[in-house]
């Protein structure tokens, strides 16, 4: 079975632009969480979606938004990009609304110039 997939793998944007990152969870998994990992730090929780509804949100500005589709895939949108948004964006899926058994994708490396 395929693991969590994310696209694109790498992305370069300039300040002020908008970006959309995509995530496909493991087949059968209904929960998707998004994390931001800045170089040298551990991942920081951004959102959790379960059954297409936002179930949790971390301490991120409203420029960050996400949604989950009927097939449980998810998109993370970031508007008005700042240099500080440069990071590895990770998606994790789990079977149910739990964080105990999350499986991470390889991430999308976003560079903001």
């Amino acid at each position: 079975d395929a693991g969590v997939t994310q696209s694109p793998t790498h992305l370069i944007k300039t300040r002020g632009q908008q970006v959309t990152l995509r995530c496909s969870p493991i087949s059968g998994h209904k929960s998707v969480s998004w994390y931001q990992q800045v170089l040298g730090q551990g991942p920081q929780f951004i959102f959790q979606y379960y059954e297409k509804e936002e179930r949790g949100r971390g301490n991120f500005p409203d420029r960050f938004s996400a949604r989950q589709f009927p097939n449980y895939s998810s998109e993370l949108n970031v508007n008005a990009l700042l240099l500080g948004d440069s990071a590895l964006y990770l998606c994790a899926s789990s079977l149910v609304r739990t964080v105990n058994e999350q499986f991470f994708g390889p991430g999308t490396r976003l560079t903001v110039l």
């Binding site: 991942p43 920081q44 949790g56």
Partner: protein, 111 residues
Amino acid sequence: TQLLEQSPQFLSIQEGENLTVYCNSSSVFSSLQWYRQEPGEGPVLLVTVVTGGEVKKLKRLTFQFGDARKDSSLHITAAQPGDTGLYLCAGEPGSNYKLTFGKGTLLTVNP
């Protein structure tokens, strides 16, 4: 904000040595997980501990959850170059479905 402090931040050892990394907090966690992350990849779950005092073994890796569920340790016996990576601990404070990660311990095992 619940913080997880990991120590040491960096560790470089020779193949065959033993090591322990620590994950500490002033807060109680309902569960705690250990991940290993290699460059350019997402974290891979190694173990989840949920009971205070719990000890889990995974081949040469031994994980312990503190009695008060505020701290954890990872011990590796006879480290191998393949153990090289960033070791992250992550905890779920309460049952709010949010994971808090430590900054990680970057382990290098030299042949």
